[in-house]
Amino acid sequence: MSISERRSPGRRGPARVVAALLTVPVLLGACAGAGDLGSSGDRTRLTVAIVANPQMEDAMTLSSQFRAANPDIDPVFVSLPENEARAKITASVATGGSEYDIVMISNYETQMWAENGWLVNLQPYIDDNPEYDDADFIPTIRESLSYEGDMYSVPFYGESSFLVYREDLFEEAGLTMPEQPTWTEIAEFASVLDDPANGRSGICLRGLAGWGENLAPLGTVIHTFGGRWFDEEWNAALDSPETAAAVQFYVDLVREHGQPGAATSGYTDCLTRYSQGQTAMWYDATAMVSAVEDPSESLVAGQSGYAPAPVQETDGAGWLYSWSLSIPETSEHKDEAWRFIQWVTDKDYQRLVGEELGWSRVPPGARLSTYEIPEYAEVAGAFAEPTLRALASGDESNPTTLPIPYEGIQFVRIPEFQDLGTRVGQQISAAVAGSVTVEEALEQSQRYAETVGQTYQG
C-alpha cells in the first residue's frame, strides 16, 4: 500500500484510496507465502508435532543429517509445551485434521487412539525392516505402545520413576538407603534430614495440580498402598481405606517434611530445588538424571544415589511413561513419515547423538541396546542400571494388590482421565495447601470418579 502512495504523491481524491485498497490484495497475493515456515520446493514436507523437551531439541538439531541423507524429505517441527501439544495433537487427530504427518504421543494415548482407528499400524513397516530390531525396545515400553500385538507408535524415549537422594547427607546423618525402600522408611529419613533452618527440606514431592503433575507420583503411591481408582465393577474407589491412607500419607509427608510452597510446586520446581541442594530426597521421573548429573546445571552432580520407587504393599511401584512417535491415519505422506520415525528411533540415532552431542544426551529408556553402549555406560554409570530396572518392572496391568478394570500405573488409561485426574489433582493440591482436609478432598474426588465410572458400568 505504501508503494502506491509513494508513487502517486500528488494524487488526491477517492482514486487514491481505491488505488491503495486495490494494491492490498496484489501485495497480499505476492506475499502469501511470506510467512510460510520454510518452503520445501519439490520435496515432501513432513509436519512433525512434538513436545518440547531437551531430547527432541537435539533431534531437531540433528535433523539436518536426516535431510542430507533424504534430500526428498523436509521435516518441519512444531514444538510446544506438553499441555498445549497434547491438546493440539488430540484435537487434530480426533477431528481428522491433516496438519500433521507425525505426532508425538505417549503410552497413555497410543492404545486408545489405535482402537479408535486414528493411527497407522506401524508393525508392517517394522517387519519390513529387520535391521530396525523392535525386539530391542524395552519390553514393558513396547507392550504399552502396542494394540492387539502391533505397535502403533515407537518409543523415542522412556521413563519410569525412582528416588534420588543425597549420599553425602545420608552418610553425615548415619543413614543407609535400603535396596528397596518402603514409604515408611522414606518418611523417617525425611524427618531426620529436614533442616528448614538451613533452607533444606527432607523431600521434594510434586504438589502442583494436574494429572501429569501431582497425580503422577501420587498415583504410584495410591497403587503401592493397595489403593485403586475403580474396583472391578467400575465403582469409584477413591474413598476406600487404602486410597485414603495413601493420600493422607503423601499429603502429611509433603506438608511436614516437604518443600515450602509445595501446593504449587511441580517437576521443574523440584528439579531446581534438588539441583541447588535445597532438598535431601526427591521422588520423580527417571528423566531427571540428565539435569541432576550435569555439573553445569547442578550443584550436587556426582553426590546422588538412586533407589527404586518406594513401595508399601506391592513389590514395585515405578511408573511407566514413554514419548513415542506415530503417524495419524490422515497423513498424506505415510511412507516418508515412517522414514523419519525410523531414523530418529533407530539404534544408529543413539550413536549419532552420543558422537555429535555427548553420550549423556542419548534419549534413555527406549532401547535395551542403549545400555550396552560402553561410552553410555561410562557417563550413565550412576543411574543407568536403576533406570533400566525401574522401566523393566513397570506393570501396567497389575499396579496394585487388588484387581482393577483399567490399565495404567500413574494414570488410568481412559479418555476421561485427563479431566478426572486434573480435577482430583486440584483437590489434592488444595489438601497440600491446607485449605481442605484430605477427607474433604477425597470425598469430592470420589464424586468426580463416580460420574466417570458410571459411563463404564452401563
Binding site: L21, L37, Q276
Partner: protein, 299 residues
C-alpha cells in the same frame, strides 16, 4: 511518610492564600517537598513495573546456569549465545508471520472502524447506543467457548494453519474496541469545524480526509497501536489454529517452556526479541499515543 507531610501541610498554604510573600514561599517549600515525594514514588513505582522487563532483558544475556541460580546472579559476563540459539531455531519465519497478521489486521481494522465510528458519532445513526452495545457484546463470549467451532470450521474450509485465518480473527477481535475508541475520539471534534467545512463546499470524502483526519490522527494512531499490541501478543487462536506454516511469535516462545529442562535464558532472549517490535512501534508513536490516549480520556 513524605506523603503524610504533604497532606498535613496542605491546609497551611490555603490559609495564607490572601497573598503574603512569606506564605507563598512556604507554599512552594511544602509543594516542593510533596513534589519530591511524588517524584520518588513515581520512580519507585515505575521501576517496580519495569523491573520484570529489565530482568528478562538481562537474563537473555546470561548462561542457562546463571539464569536460574539461587540467589540470582547480578554480575555476570554477558553472552550472545542465547540470541544465537534463538536464531538457530529459526525465529524469523515466526516473526514474519506475526508482522503479517498484525499489520494487515490493524490496517483492516482502521479501514473498517473509521466509517463505523463516524456513523456513530458525527452523523449518529438511529439507535446508536444499541449498535455500540452490539459491538461490545461480541467481546463478551469467552474465546475458549468458540475455539472448537472455529477449529472445525477452519478444518472444513481448508483454512487451518493459514495466516489469513489469523488475519480475519484478529480483525474481528479488535474491531469492537477500535470502533469504541475511535468513536470517543470523533466525539471530541467540534461540530462547528465540520459545519464550516461543509459551508465552504467540501464533499464528504474531502471533509473526512482534510478536516477530520488531521484532528483525530493521534486517536487513530493510538487505536492502531492498541490493535497492533493485542494481535502481536495473541496466543490462544495462534496456538490452536496454526501448525507449521502460520505459527506466530508467541507460539514460538512457548516452545522454550519444557517440562524436563530449563531454558530460561533462551526464553528470555526470545521474549526480549519478541517484545522489541512493539516497544519500537510504541516509541515511534509516543507523541501521537500520549495525545491520543489523553484525548479520549478528557471529556
Amino acid at each position: 511518610m513524605n506523603a503524610s507531610t504533604e497532606l498535613t501541610s496542605r491546609p497551611r498554604p490555603a490559609e495564607s492564600r490572601s497573598g503574603a510573600p512569606a506564605g507563598r514561599r512556604k507554599q512552594t517549600g511544602a509543594q516542593r517537598a510533596g513534589g519530591i515525594a511524588l517524584t520518588t514514588l513515581t520512580w519507585v513505582l515505575g521501576l517496580a513495573f519495569f523491573f520484570p522487563v529489565l530482568w528478562m532483558a538481562l537474563t537473555g544475556f546470561k548462561s542457562e546456569a546463571e539464569a536460574y541460580s539461587d540467589p540470582p546472579t547480578l554480575f555476570f559476563v554477558p553472552t550472545l549465545e542465547q540470541y544465537r540459539s534463538v536464531f538457530d531455531r529459526g525465529v524469523l519465519p515466526y516473526l514474519l508471520n506475526s508482522v503479517w497478521a498484525t499489520l494487515i489486521s490493524a490496517i483492516l481494522v482502521i479501514v473498517l472502524a473509521t466509517p463505523a465510528a463516524y456513523a456513530l458519532s458525527i452523523k449518529p445513526v438511529k439507535r446508536t447506543q444499541d449498535v455500540l452495545f452490539f459491538f461490545i457484546s461480541t467481546k463478551m463470549l469467552p474465546v475458549a467457548a468458540v475455539i472448537v467451532p472455529l477449529y472445525v470450521a477452519a478444518q472444513q474450509l481448508s483454512l487451518a494453519d493459514n495466516i489469513w485465518t489469523l488475519v480475519v480473527l484478529y480483525t474481528a477481535m479488535n474491531l469492537p474496541i477500535a470502533v469504541w475508541m475511535m468513536r470517543s475520539f470523533f466525539m471530541e471534534v467540534p461540530k462547528e469545524m465540520l459545519e464550516a467545512a461543509r459551508v465552504d463546499g467540501a464533499t464528504l470524502p474531502q471533509m473526512l480526509r482534510q478536516v477530520l483526519m488531521p484532528v483525530v490522527l493521534p486517536g487513530v494512531a493510538a487505536t492502531a497501536l492498541i490493535c497492533l499490541i493485542f494481535s502481536w501478543n495473541e496466543f490462544f487462536f495462534a496456538v490452536n489454529l496454526t501448525a507449521a506454516r502460520a505459527a506466530t511469535v508467541p507460539v514460538f516462545l512457548v516452545g522454550f517452556i519444557t517440562s524436563e529442562g530449563l531454558y530460561w535464558a533462551q526464553l528470555s532472549a526470545a521474549a526480549t526479541l519478541a517484545s522489541l517490535p512493539v516497544i519500537l512501534a510504541g516509541w515511534a508513536a509516543q507523541k501521537q499515543l500520549v495525545r491520543g490516549l489523553s484525548m479520549g480520556a478528557v471529556k
